[in-house]
């Protein structure tokens, strides 16, 4: 089993995400992460799905996703074929802030993006391994909340979305 990124270029119609996830549900496959948003072409959405499966399975998943009437194109890449990024937010109580934390923020290139009377919110972008590492450290600082986005990714292959649309 390997980690794959599946890209889905689709019309932005009601229920499309449902139709896509049914394909995973039917086969009993867990989606590791999923992000969806409008692409640079209005009306065309781009869904990025991270999944850990065999190559055979990912090919079948992609074929079945592409078979969905409103899906324009679906394809997959291994991690080496994509440039990807994730974003993590960490909520830390103000009472636990000290000099040690400042060094941690500097070392990890994290940012403070909000400061409230009771808590601050740190932001870190990076691969899962990196955001997880910071999470482990911040557990020692009474972390109140942690949230991580799904993967956003672009393929290294020099194909543009326009070649699929129209």
């Amino acid at each position: 089993m390997k980690r794959y990124t599946i890209f889905v270029i689709t019309e932005n119609f009601i229920g499309i995400l449902n139709r896509i996830t049914i394909i995973f549900t039917r086969r009993g496959i867990n989606i590791d992460a999923l992000t969806a948003s409008e692409s640079r072409i209005p009306g065309v959405h781009r869904i990025t799905i991270e999944v850990t499966v065999t190559e055979e399975t990912v090919i079948q998943l992609v074929n079945q996703i592409e078979k969905i009437i409103d899906v324009i194109k679906a394809f997959h890449h291994e991690d080496t074929g994509v440039v990807y990024q994730e974003l993590a937010l960490y909520k830390i109580p103000v009472s636990r802030l000290d000099g040690g934390l400042e060094k941690i923020i500097r070392d990890h290139h994290a940012k403070i993006i909000a400061a409230e009377p009771d808590f601050v919110v740190l932001e870190l972008t990076g691969h899962k391994e990196k955001t997880r590492e910071l999470l482990e450290i911040l557990k020692g600082y009474g972390i109140l909340e942690f949230a991580r986005s799904g993967r956003v990714a672009v393929a290294k292959r020099m194909l543009t979305i326009d070649s699929f649309v129209n």
Binding site: T10, E11, I14, N63, E66
Partner: protein, 563 residues
């Protein structure tokens, strides 16, 4: 300025624009405006009132399979709509083109648990090729146009269009534009010449090539191309369940049927061929048995329209994407003319073994009880060449399929992929209503017929001259066979105390006859065919007969058993 009309009128006018001639349906609250509109168009489009929505959709399936047109079905919201689900799943897995239109509560009530509201989009999604909810009158015609295009093009399938009640009563302009393409949907791939050359090279070198054909040949209207290919290549050819009829069984290359209860040679020799050509079939598990021991010695050429079927179950050495009408024609040109006499002789020798071990006993039994096979044998004697065989699911289905003499295309209607009991009676009605003059023979078991027996009422009302042959063994026979073979004869809930079927048929005004003696069978079958109108023939058969050959679950095709 364009005149505006009610959404309900737009529904009917759109169906007429798509050349729908016949609708199967059942009215109810949320679809009433459409039924009201239908009242004005009875001279242009016919509607058949079934006795249950499941009956309506199976009838639409039967109609679609025989006519090659899109079957159309109408139902109300909530329970009316959910009763369509089995039929949607059945049509989708067997690639039958359907457009089902369901009423829905008014748009402002959506999501509020209103009376007879059900989330039809959510429920039907996994069972349809496409579904869509219309909430404005102006969107009705484009949705229906798109629905018909999607249902009939590419690999055909089931479409559901859910129309809210407000959209049916609001006004909109009507200017019907058929749908021919849209950017996210590719109907089929162009045939690759490289793939054709690769396939031809494999075939020209092959010593023991073998061809399997499925319903894709019928859906692709490629029957003539298949025949030309076989004439030139000399390759033995076997049919899947749904492919039956695509090639006349009298064709010299025809060697029989594939699958769990198919013929002996076609299954066994799958593991001896050197090149396997699969045309318009999807290597269903009932065809392949244990995949890890299926045709491992062979190079596989797969001619298939649907890219997601390539390498799904069986890896293809050469995949030829596209419509097999085109790919078969190209392949025929590219191959050398050959004969494979000694290879063909292997099929004939095994066929002889099957005849002696199974067929003779099924068709000309010496024991007392009647067999299902001899009933089919007599049907073959009286049926027309283009007679349609409609079957339900179970032992009778496999026996009827095994022994029915298929000579013409589109003569077979059965529930293949889903295995839906209760399918046959309404499907036969739908097939018959496409053409009253054609013989439609509905072979059904005593279990299945009772799942949709109320459709005898629709047969009565439409006077559809369906010939119903009930093969009654007072058992859920296929399940009982498995219990005998694999569960120590523990016959758990498979025996049926049945009603007097003759009285039931007669109560519906259908002429009926019951046969339990061999001496009466031939005459009864003849009477059935001579009778002008629907006929119900009950044949009381041996209670505990089994269907053979058989490939047991988990076994390989080469482990096909004759007893």
């Amino acid at each position: 300025m364009e005149t505006k009309m009610r959404g309900a009128d737009i529904v009917i006018r759109s169906l007429i624009a798509e050349q729908a001639e016949l609708i199967f349906g059942y009215p109810g609250g949320a679809i009433m405006p459409v039924y009201d509109a239908l009242y004005d168009y009875q001279d242009q489009i016919k509607h058949v009132l079934t006795r249950h929505e499941q009956g309506a959709i199976h009838a639409a399936q039967g109609y679609a399979r025989i006519s090659g047109k899109v079957g159309v079905c109408l139902a109300t919201s909530g329970p009316g709509a959910t009763n369509l689900i089995t039929g949607l799943a059945d049509a989708q897995i067997d690639s039958t083109p359907l457009v089902c239109i369901t009423g829905q509560v008014a748009a402002h009530l959506l999501g509020t648990d209103a009376f007879q509201e059900t989330d039809m989009m959510g429920i039907s999604m996994p069972a349809t090729k496409w579904n869509y909810q219309v909430r404005r009158a102006a969107d009705i015609a484009p949705a229906i146009a798109k629905g018909f295009f999607i249902a009939r093009s590419g690999r055909p399938g089931a479409v559901l269009i859910d129309i809210t009640k407000n959209a049916q009563v609001e006004l909109a302009a009507f200017n019907y534009q058929p749908c021919q393409e849209f950017r996210s949907y590719k109907t089929h791939h162009p045939v690759s010449d490289t793939a054709i050359l690769q396939a031809a090279a494999l075939l020209n070198e092959a010593a023991r090539p073998y061809l399997l054909f499925g319903q894709g040949v019928i859906l692709g209207k490629a029957e003539a191309e298949l025949k030309s290919f076989l004439d030139k290549s000399g390759i033995p050819a076997a049919s899947t369940l749904l492919g039956s009829g695509a090639l006349s069984q009298e064709h010299p290359n025809y060697v029989g049927k594939l699958g769990m209860h198919g013929n002996y040679a076609p299954n066994l020799l799958t593991n001896q061929c050197d090149v396997l050509v699969a045309v318009g079939m999807r290597f269903d598990d009932r065809v392949t048995g244990d995949l890890s021991r299926y045709a491992k010695q062979a190079k596989v050429i797969h001619l298939e329209l649907d890219p997601s079927e390539i390498n799904k179950n069986v890896k293809a050495n050469v995949a030829v994407l596209g419509n097999c009408k085109e790919s078969l024609a190209k392949l025929t040109e590219a191959i050398a003319s050959k004969k494979h006499e000694s290879w063909m002789a292997k099929f004939r020798a095994l066929e002889q073994q099957e005849n002696e071990a199974v067929v003779q006993h099924d068709l000309m039994p010496t024991k007392v009880g009647l067999t299902m096979g001899e009933a089919i044998h007599h049907i073959n004697r009286y049926k027309a060449d283009d007679a349609v065989l409609v079957t339900d699911v179970g032992q009778h289905q496999m026996i009827a399929w095994r022994y029915f003499n298929y000579k013409k295309t589109r003569t077979q209607v059965t529930s293949g992929g889903l295995g839906t009991m209760g399918f046959a009676l309404p499907a036969a009605l739908g097939a018959q209503l496409h053409d009253y003059s054609r013989q439609v023979i509905c072979v059904v078991g005593d279990g299945g017929i009772q799942m949709t027996i109320q459709e005898l009422g629709t047969i009565m009302q439409t006077k559809a001259p369906v010939k119903i042959v009930l093969l009654n063994n007072n058992y859920l026979g296929m399940v009982r066979q498995w219990q005998q073979m694999f569960f120590d004869k523990r016959y758990s809930f498979t025996e049926l105390d049945n009603p007097d079927f003759i009285k039931i048929a007669e109560a519906y005004g259908i002429k009926a006859k019951k046969v339990s003696e061999r001496a009466d069978l031939a005459e009864a079958v003849e009477d059935m065919f001579i009778h002008d109108g629907p006929f119900f023939l009950e044949v009381v058969v041996e209670k505990e007969d089994n269907v053979f050959p058989m490939i047991a679950t988990g076994c390989s095709v080469e482990e096909v058993r004759l007893n």
